[in-house]
Amino acid sequence: MSQIVLSLGFGLVTASILALGAVGFTLQFGVTNLFNLAFGETMTVSAFVAYLAMVSLHWNLWWAMAAGGAAGMVLSLLISRLVYLPFLRRGTSQFAMVMVTVAVSFILKNVLQIFSGATYYSYQLPPERPIRILGMVFDARQLTIIGLAAASLLGLHLLFKYTRLGKAMRATSDNGPLARSVGIPTDRVVSAAWLLSGLFAGIAGVALAVDLGTFGSTTGGSYLLPIVAAAVFGSVGEPYGAVLGALVIGLASEVAANYDPQLKDVVAFAILVLVLLLRPDGLRAGRVQMRAEVTA
């Protein structure tokens, strides 16, 4: 039993990081309707930027994480403006856009490889004293990450619920044409969504690198698996659902890892398959019902 409680603790850390990633991925999909498969690489780039900040500029971890977040924002915005938007404006089909995002991820991954080589890197953070809370064991860094994730998600919630921009993002995600006709500058809202998603990717990327201990040019790409699983859990495009998915997957995979460390990723995958078998178009299922057929 104590083992399980212990793994719940690990699960919270995993869930926090996953929540950041999944929410970033899903909220951008909600607003832009695009599966950005370069999301993982954005995380990786941010992890590297943080590394550079720590090694060259001797910043501490948290400032480096901020730098990573900033890098994620900039990269996301650049990609969307320079690559995605031009293709979208041309009327590129949905599946061709997937190829575009995969191409971007491929380019990013390989450019990273040119600079980083095939080696793995580490922030080489000093080990810390364990802190015991309710039978779970954390170190200060992990608690900070959990706190950061909670704060970020809370901040996002406040943004969505109380600010003009946040409501505009929800409106655009809900009904783009109506949002436009009400005077919402959907172009700017879309840019804001990319920036936000990039920020979350950045923070998640650095946090992931901290949690894993080492990271390389492929780290972010492989993280796409649990991110997509968490996003699909709550129906892609729904940030609150993604948080729930992250919690479920994070906790479940750590508990399973108790019995067999290999099971970590398998759990995320199994949940993904289950959701697809039960609710294949969980994508905005509620929204489809809204469209009353009121023509003839």
């Binding site: 599946f95 191409a103 491929f106 294949p280 019902q289």
Partner: protein, 623 residues
């Protein structure tokens, strides 16, 4: 010299293997529209299974652990690879192909290949984890005693043979009526379903075959190289294959070969000839990044690839002398039937007919050989959307062999009623009966196979198929129209194809559109597309034809042409239900009319009767 020859041989083997793989991916993606982002997984599966079927049970190397190890003679391991590839595709396809969005499917498949790589690397006992398998004996290497160089060329011959078989197979498939169904699905899945295609099943079939082909290519590769490890199959390899077939040209085998040659062959080999300016790692990464830039450039400037899918000009295959209808006698009889029918039914409008009507001569052969008219009845049909009852306890029965109009103000639920009958939407309650049999809730493709054919409110042509292909794709009972039938060869399908070409041509002649026979349907004007849609629904051998606003956006002259055809169908005994706002058309074509308002049936009768019906008039004015 010898080094060069063995290098050349290696290149040829790789070219052969890559081409086979590209043909498999082309079948899945180019023809079927399935974005298999787990492609490399199938090649890897084939390689691994071939390896563990070839290797003996006892590991020859120290610390090499793997499953099976049956030491089977060639070519059984390759056959095993094909089976394994197919089985894996079936398993993955069962959940990955469930979402309707193709980009979602692609994402799921990408994620599958990620987890697979993780599992294979971590589970030592499966395929020896990250170290991979090695020391796999090459087939016949020992027995032939050819020496290294000689063996290389032997393997080139083997690969060439395999490629030939693959080419014959994929060519057979991609030029079959079944492939036409796949292409139709690729263009517009809903329209294909409405014409009887079980989209999910056919997608899975294409996926499975592609998976098997990819697996065989992997098997050949591992037999040549003698080793295989996770390093050989990352998600990047899938991407490169996609780049190859897109650059080469989607949808056709030559394009796939060209892609394999240019991208996988030339482009990837090029760096070896350039002076080395950085570490091997850096050069490889640069090359990969360049591939990413290459595909972006192609998607921007030339998305159809270097060698695009060629238009299939079927018009030259149309049997000669088809412009005359095949059966003349019945049409004469039919005209008489029309006359007497006109006398029996009181149809003053018929005589009044539009001035300057274009004289119609003969009925198409298709209309002459129609199945007996079916009976359609709906009972207490119900369906709501967001709290509004779009269709509210609707009940009516169509007179078989007659044309019935379905009119009513906006929001009356007419289109919804049609979709419920056709199986495009599921009813919340009530029944749909065809010839007395309860078919409520059957999906669209099953209803289509029963003969219930629906046209769409917004045109739904298969854009990248020619007009003739659009028409033929709709016809049921094509021996080459299933996977099995396709494999039986062209001769098996030929007779029926010729028949269908004749029918389609006659239909085109009737609508005076033969000049558009080989034009891509997506290039037609709005009115022409509407006509193609109507012709296509006729080719589907409807026993009950449901028309959803066929006159929408159609100019008056065209309207008359369509009306004439509908009249002929009606006289030929086809049961028709037509939702239409053009009340003039309804009056001229339909024998009786049903009026709906607010989801309910309001009245039935002829247009004249309805005009005098105060309730109906109120409904139109009251909405």
């Amino acid at each position: 010299m010898s080094a060069f020859l063995s290098y050349a041989a290696t290149l040829l083997v790789y070219l052969g293997v890559n081409t086979i793989a590209c043909w498999g991916l082309n079948l899945q993606f180019g023809v079927g529209g399935v974005m298999n982002f787990a492609f490399i997984l199938y090649q890897a599966m084939g390689a691994y299974i071939t390896a563990v079927l070839t290797l003996p049970a006892a590991a020859t190397q120290v610390d090499e652990r793997y499953i099976l190890g049956w030491h089977l003679p060639w070519p059984l391991p390759l056959a095993g690879a094909a089976v394994a590839g197919a089985a894996l595709a079936l398993a993955v396809g069962s959940f990955a192909l469930r979402p309707a969005r193709r980009d979602f499917q692609a994402t799921v498949m990408l994620v599958v290949s990620i987890i697979a790589a993780t599992l294979v690397t971590s589970e030592q006992g499966w395929f020896n984890g990250s170290q991979g398998l090695f020391g796999i004996p090459q087939p016949f290497a020992a027995s032939l005693g050819l020496g290294i160089d000689g063996y290389y060329w032997f393997f080139v011959a083997v690969t060439a043979g395999a490629a030939l078989v693959a080419l014959l197979g994929t060519d057979l498939i991609t030029s079959s009526p079944w492939a036409r169904k796949l292409r139709a699905m690729r263009e517009n899945a809903d329209a294909a379903a409405a014409l009887g295609v079980n989209v999910r099943a056919e997608s899975i079939k294409a996926y499975v075959i592609g998976g098997a082909i990819a697996a065989v290519s992997g098997g050949l590769l591992v037999e040549f190289i003698g080793a295989w490890s996770p390093a050989a199959w990352g998600t990047g390899e899938t991407f490169i294959f996609f780049v190859a077939i897109i650059v080469g040209g989607l949808g056709n085998n030559f394009g796939a070969f060209l892609g394999a040659f240019l991208v996988l062959g030339v482009f990837l080999e090029l760096p070896t000839y350039l002076p080395q300016f950085a570490s091997a790692n850096t050069e490889e990464s640069l090359q990969s990044a360049a591939i990413g830039v290459l595909i972006l450039a192609f998607l921007w400037f030339r998305p159809q690839g270097i060698f695009p899918e060629r238009r299939r000009r079927l018009s030259r295959l149309v049997p000669a002398g088809v412009t005359e209808p095949v059966v003349t006698q019945p049409t004469v009889v039919q005209s008489a039937a029309t006359e007497s029918a006109a006398l029996v039914r009181d149809r003053p409008q018929e005589q009044r007919g539009p001035a300057g009507a274009v004289p119609r001569t003969q009925a198409p052969a298709a209309a002459a050989t129609r199945a007996p008219s079916a009976r359609l009845a709906v009972s207490e049909l119900r369906r709501g959307f967001g709290g509004v009852n779009a269709v509210d306890r609707l009940s009516f029965e169509l007179v078989p062999g007659q044309a019935t109009g379905l009119i009513g103000p906006n929001g009356a639920g007419k289109s919804t009623a049609l979709k419920l009958i056709a199986g495009a939407i599921a009813p919340a309650g009530g029944q749909v009966l065809v010839d007395g049999t309860d078919v409520t809730g059957q999906p669209a493709y099953k209803m289509a196979r029963l003969g219930v054919i629906r046209t769409f409110q917004h045109t739904s042509e298969f854009a990248k198929l020619t007009v003739l292909e659009n028409l033929i794709a709709a016809a049921p009972e094509q021996p080459g129209g299933t996977l099995g039938g396709a494999l039986l060869g062209r001769r098996h399908a030929r007779a029926r194809q010729q028949e269908l070409l004749g029918e389609a041509w006659a239909l085109l002649a009737d609508f005076q559109l033969t000049s558009l026979a080989d034009t891509y349907a997506g290039r037609l004007s709005g009115g022409q597309r509407r006509l193609v849609e109507i012709m296509r629904s006729l080719m589907a051998r409807p026993r009950i034809l449901l028309l959803d606003e066929p006159m929408a956006g159609v100019n008056p002259t065209l309207r008359l042409t369509i009306e004439e055809h509908m009249k002929r169908l009606r006289d030929g005994g086809l049961t028709m239900l037509m939702v239409e706002h053009e009340l003039g058309s309804v009056e001229r074509v339909c024998d009786s009319v049903i009026v709906m308002a607010q989801g309910k049936l309001l009245a039935t009768g002829t247009m004249a009767e309805l005009r005098g019906n105060q309730e109906v008039v109120s409904a139109y004015l009251a909405g």
